[in-house]
Each structure stands twice: as structure tokens, then as C-alpha cells.
């Protein structure tokens, strides 16, 4: 490798390193803000009345758990922050210390105790059976031989384990279970009382009945990382809250004013989504921002990789080949989870969810784009390169101003495909709690106790976004073709 060849790549490499540094550099103020100590609460805000996003109003996370946490944090002199994520991801968030504690109607189980420490129990819920009114399944005995749904990873799974002959369907989200119930794919769902009351209130065709507690109740507690010193402090305040009635007052407040708009007949009730539309539409901004960031990053990095692939320098070729092979050969969801959870552990940088998602999608998209761009570059007439060389135009100027514009024109349809795919794949980021369109649909599902309507609305929005995107691409293509 001679010096000239090295110079050709020095700049792209430097750019990439800079970008990498910029992405990983600690953002001032996230780690330890000056003055008041902050603590972060992990929660899955799709479980009213314990925690849900006040989507019709402020957009904040509200609920019984939130009020209790605020009270305790206030007493102990902490500033409270929230880190929303899926329920599945909460234990991982604790273990990787992304959050200081978790409050998410999480009940104490032996399994969870292996991984985290629990506070004293602050609320006991009762399990209930929800079914269609005309089937009216009321007791565990009546569930024999039936199809029963339960939330994956919830303590209600224990109840279903003891059912005999029943077919169990485990799903991630309660709205999905309710939808399955209404679609007659299952006969009953086992959830806790407060949730059951909410859904029965919003869906006229549903009824619920309590399951008598068998020995130990469903005790909810606050979870901490193993060995956390916060546990004792929290227990102290909890004990005081129980003693002076503060806790009971909060419970009464949240469980007494159960929102139930009542079912007015008919299949769909889009009218009930009205006050949530603002909240859903703000997700368009998040989804678009995210798509833009990851598409831009993916394109720049993919271009660099494609230049590596056609480089004369063997190690650069090897690197980009291995890179592409790994990022195309593993699921995007896995890459996303790894980046989100591994970076804080490896670099001691608490990477924001949106940045982690942009990074994962950008890195992944670059792997695909590098092949597309490489093809585009190779398809440009060899004579273009020779003409540029003969004029004494340096490599980089030639690539940027002469070869790439022609390559991009050739691959524009493929680039648009990639962008469209990104818009829709962006819905994956909801698993790490980014409030994109898809996550907002889940939030509204949880808030309205309606399973179907929010999905249809965001589906329509995604479709509209893709239509706009493809029209823009057509305009761009026409502009680029004016030289033909």
C-alpha cells in the first residue's frame, strides 16, 4: 500500500471515527446532573391504572406506581426520571443498571428474586378471569379444556400452569390478549382485577370474575439491582406510607375513578380515539426523525463501506465483507437489543434509546446499502473514471462529484426501497421504549382498553408516510433524469 492509496482513505476513515466518537461521547448532563441527585425508574407504561402514558393530556407517565415513586423520591430528596420500556426488558434494564429501580406492577416471584432485590410489597392484586359475556366463564374449573390467554412473563402465568387440559396462549401485551378474546381465538384471559375492570368497563361484551386467592396473593413490589442500597431507604418510606394511610389514599384515588366510557354497540369505536390523535400524530415526528437519522447515517457509512469493497487495500476489503456478513446475517432486533444494553456496560455511557436505535438501524442499513452502492459504482462507465483521472481530478473529488451522482441515479429505486423499509421497520424501536408511532398505538390501546382501533389508525399513518415518501422520490428521480 503506497502513501497515495492511504491518503485516499484517510478522510473517510477519519470521518467515521469522528462520527463514532460523537455518537459515543457522553452527553453532558445525562449521567450525573449537578445539584440534586437523580434516580431513574424503569416502567412499562401500558398497564393502567398502575402506569400508563397520559396520552390525551400531558403525555407524561401517570398511575399508582408513579405517584408512589414520586412520593418516595420526594421524601428521600431525589429527582425522579422515567425510562419506559417493554415489560420484558425491565429486568435486563436493572441488571445493566440502566435504571435504578423498577416499578411496574411487578410481583415478587422466586425466579425474579434470583436476578433482582425486591422491596416490601406495596399492593396485593387479585387474579381474575375475563371472558365474553355469553360464555360467562367464572371459575378455574370451568376453564378445563378451554383456550386461555395470559401475558408473557406475568405472574398470572403461574395460575395457568395449574390449569389442566387447557390450551395456553402467551402474548406480550394485554390489548393483544383482549383482541384475541374478542376474535374468539381464546375463551378467557387471566389478568389482575384492576386491569380486568378497565377492559370490562370499556367493552360491553366482556365480563370478569375474581379468582379466590390461593395462599400467597399477587404482591407487587419495587425491584432493585442486586445489592442496591436504595432498597432499605425505599422500605422505610413505604412503611411510613402504610402507617399514615398515604398509600391507601393513593390506591383509592386510582382505583376509584376507573375510566369507563361504556360500549355503545357496533364493532369499531374510532370516536373514542379523538382525544388521543394529537398524541399519536406526535409519533410521526419521532418516526420520521428516526428514519431520517438512520437513513442518512446508513447511506454515508454504506458509501464508505462500498468504497472499501472496491479498494485495492485487502484489509479494508476484508473488513467490509465481514461487516456486511455479520450485519446481514443476524436479526436487526438482536442488534438493537445488544447495542442498547451492551453500550452502557462496555463504555459506561448511558446511550439514549433514540440514539441507540438510530445507530443500530444505521449500522444495519449500511450493510445492505454498501452492496447496492457498490453495484451502482461498478455500473458507472469505466471511461468516466479515466476521463476524471486524465483531467488530474483527485480520487475523492472524482468519487463525490462524478462517480457517486451517476451511481446514485442508477440505484435510486433501490435506495427508496431501503427508506420505505426503514420507515416501517422503525416500529421495532418500540421495544426499547422509543415513543414512535407503533409504541404510541400500544399506549393508546392500553389507555382506551381498545385493541384494534389504534392499530388501524397508525397503519393508515404509516401508509400515508410511505406514499408521501415515494412521491418525493419520484420527483427527485425526475429531477435527476433531466440530463437524459
Amino acid at each position: 500500500m503506497n502513501v497515495r492509496a492511504f491518503k485516499r482513505f484517510a478522510l473517510p476513515i477519519a470521518c467515521f471515527l469522528l462520527l463514532a466518537c460523537a455518537l459515543f461521547a457522553p452527553v453532558p448532563g445525562t449521567a450525573e446532573a449537578a445539584g440534586e441527585k437523580t434516580i431513574t425508574m424503569g416502567t412499562s407504561p401500558d398497564y393502567p391504572p398502575y402506569e400508563n402514558v397520559d396520552a390525551a393530556g400531558s403525555g407524561d407517565i401517570v398511575g399508582l406506581d408513579v405517584d408512589i415513586a414520586k412520593y418516595i423520591a420526594g421524601k428521600l430528596g431525589y429527582e425522579l426520571k422515567f425510562a419506559p420500556s417493554d415489560f420484558d426488558g425491565l429486568i435486563a434494564a436493572l441488571q445493566t443498571k440502566r435504571v435504578d429501580f423498577v416499578m411496574s406492577a411487578m410481583s415478587v416471584t422466586e425466579e425474579r428474586k434470583q436476578s433482582v432485590d425486591f422491596s416490601d410489597i406495596y399492593y396485593n392484586a387479585t387474579n381474575t378471569i375475563v371472558s365474553l359475556k355469553d360464555k360467562s366463564l367464572g371459575t378455574l374449573d370451568e376453564l378445563k379444556g378451554k383456550r386461555v390467554g395470559v401475558q408473557l412473563g406475568s405472574t398470572q402465568e403461574k395460575v395457568t400452569d395449574e390449569l389442566k387440559d387447557a390450551t395456553i396462549l402467551r402474548l406480550n401485551k394485554i390489548p393483544d390478549l383482549i383482541q384475541a378474546l374478542k376474535a374468539n381465538r381464546i375463551d378467557a384471559v387471566i389478568v389482575e382485577d384492576a386491569v380486568a375492570a378497565g377492559y370490562a368497563g370499556a367493552n360491553e361484551d366482556l365480563k370478569f370474575s375474581m379468582i379466590p386467592p390461593s395462599g400467597e396473593g399477587e404482591g407487587y413490589a419495587i425491584a432493585f439491582p442486586k445489592g442496591s442500597e436504595l432498597r432499605e431507604e425505599f422500605n422505610g418510606v413505604l412503611a411510613q406510607m402504610k402507617e399514615d394511610g398515604t398509600l391507601q389514599k393513593m390506591v383509592d384515588q386510582w382505583f376509584g375513578t376507573e375510566a369507563s366510557s361504556g360500549d355503545s354497540g357496533g364493532v369499531f369505536h374510532f370516536e373514542r380515539l379523538g382525544k388521543y390523535m394529537g398524541y399519536i400524530f406526535r409519533g410521526v415526528y419521532v418516526t420520521l426523525l428516526f428514519t431520517l437519522v438512520s437513513a442518512a447515517f446508513g447511506f454515508v457509512w454504506g458509501s464508505v463501506l462500498s468504497l472499501f469493497k472496491i479498494s485495492k487495500i485487502a484489509p479494508l476489503r476484508w473488513f467490509s465483507t465481514v461487516y456486511t456478513s455479520i450485519f446481514r446475517g443476524t436479526p436487526l432486533l438482536l442488534q438493537l437489543a445488544l447495542i442498547y444494553y451492551a453500550i452502557p456496560q462496555l463504555f459506561h455511557y448511558n446511550i439514549p434509546a433514540l440514539l441507540a436505535a438510530g445507530l443500530a438501524f444505521g449500522l444495519n442499513s449500511a450493510a445492505y446499502l454498501s452492496e447496492t452502492i457498490r453495484g451502482g459504482i461498478l455500473a458507472v462507465d469505466k471511461g468516466q473514471r479515466e476521463a476524471a483521472l486524465a483531467l488530474g481530478i483527485p480520487y475523492r473529488t472524482m468519487m463525490v462529484s462524478i462517480i457517486m451522482p451517476q451511481a446514485i441515479k442508477n440505484i435510486l429505486p433501490a435506495l427508496v426501497n431501503e427508506c420505505v423499509a426503514l420507515v416501517k421497520e422503525s416500529s421495532l424501536v418500540s421495544v426499547i421504549g422509543v415513543a414512535d408511532l407503533m409504541r404510541r398505538a400500544s399506549v393508546v390501546q392500553a389507555n382506551t382498553f381498545m385493541a384494534f382501533e389504534p392499530l388501524i389508525v397508525v397503519g393508515a399513518i404509516y401508509y400515508a408516510l410511505v406514499l408521501v415518501l415515494t412521491s418525493l422520490a419520484r420527483l427527485l428521480e425526475r429531477r435527476m433524469r433531466r440530463s437524459d
Binding site: 486524465a390 483527485p394 451517476q406
Partner: protein, 240 residues
Amino acid sequence: MINVEHLTKSFGKNEVLRDISTTVDRGEVVAVIGPSGSGKSTFLRCLNLLETPTSGRIVVDGVDLTDRRTNITQFRQRIGMVFQHFHLFPHMTVMENLIFAPTRVKGMSRDEAHAKGLQLLERVGLKHKADDYPSKLSGGQKQRVAIARSLAMDPDVMLFDEPTSALDPEMVKEVLAVIRDLGSSGMTMLIVTHEMKFAREAADTIYFLDGGKLLERSSPADFFAQPQTERAARFLEQVL
């Protein structure tokens, strides 16, 4: 001005140029002729290192191009090249094609480059096409723009690689006229061509290549009247 010393070029085991040595003086117009596959184009492409010589030296104005320390990218600015298939930049207008290298590589101001561009377009008779895209031009017009694009860099030497071979017959004339005009203005030029009439009229020297060897090097009058080698005689018999 150009000294070629023991130039050889091989593609794998295939020896395309064998021990070529010659000198081109400033202002000299050389027509390089020979049967196809004789290495004419490769010879020309070695002169600005589009092909890297396998051995030998190429010295232009005292600068050894084959020396690794020579900044070849910079030196190529002084050697213009015109290709058989023009290779205009299709995404740029004619004027943008002309001013790209002067502004981006030489740091010339846009206004200056633009003025110079218009001058050159006038010289090749295409001033009215300045804002058209290359796809709108005929082959002959494209080649004249390509010549203007090279001239925009103020080269000391111009290399023409079969400039009229891809053109319809009625367009050959307009391009040759431009090249001829350029030669009479004192430009040092090497032209690979199959146009024997043009070579005879416009060149100061004829190079005859065959099998990678520079077989003959003489004035057009001598070459066309009495070729020195039997191979050249046979070649002329076939093309004239």
C-alpha cells in the same frame, strides 16, 4: 519535451509494448498508426500513466512520471486526453463539464473559468450549446466538447485516442478540423488514428506500431511514399 526510454508494458504474460524509445519535441504533432492490437492505444495511455508501464521511463519536461515520488494526479493536469467514446460527464451541462476541473482542481474562479469556457466553445463552434446536457449533442459535437474540456486545463500536451473512430462519417470532418487547427496553433500532440489522409496532412511525424514495437518513425511524406518495413508497406496497401 517527451522522452520515452525503453518503455515496455505487459498484461500478465501478454507483452503489449516492447522496448519503445522516442522523443517528441515541443509543438510536434505525431500521428500514431498501425493495425489493431498493435499497442497504439496502450502506448498513448502510458504517457499519462492511465496504464502503468511495466518497465522503462517516461520523462515529460524533465519530470520522470514513472518515479513513485512524482505526484501524477497533479501532473496529469498538464496532459490533456481525448477518448474514442468522449466520456463527457453526463450529469453536467456542457459548461459544467468545461469548468469542473479548472475550478475544483486548479482553484480558478467560476467567472474566469466560465469566460474561458465560452472562449473554448466558440473555438470548437459550440458556443450555443453551453447549457445543454451531453445527451442532447451529436457524436461530433460531444467530441468537440471533450476537446474543449481538455483544453480548459491549459495542457502542454494533448493525447487523442482514436478521436473519430466512434463517429458517423459525416461528423469526422468537424472534429478533425478542430484537431488540425489546434496543431497549427503549436500544441504538442499525439494522435492515435485510422484516418490516413488526416495523418498525412496534419502530422509532423508518423509512428508506425506493430506487435508492440515502434517499427517506423518518419515524416508523412517519407512514410507514405516509401515505407521502410515490409510490414508497414503491407499495412498501407490495405488501408489506402
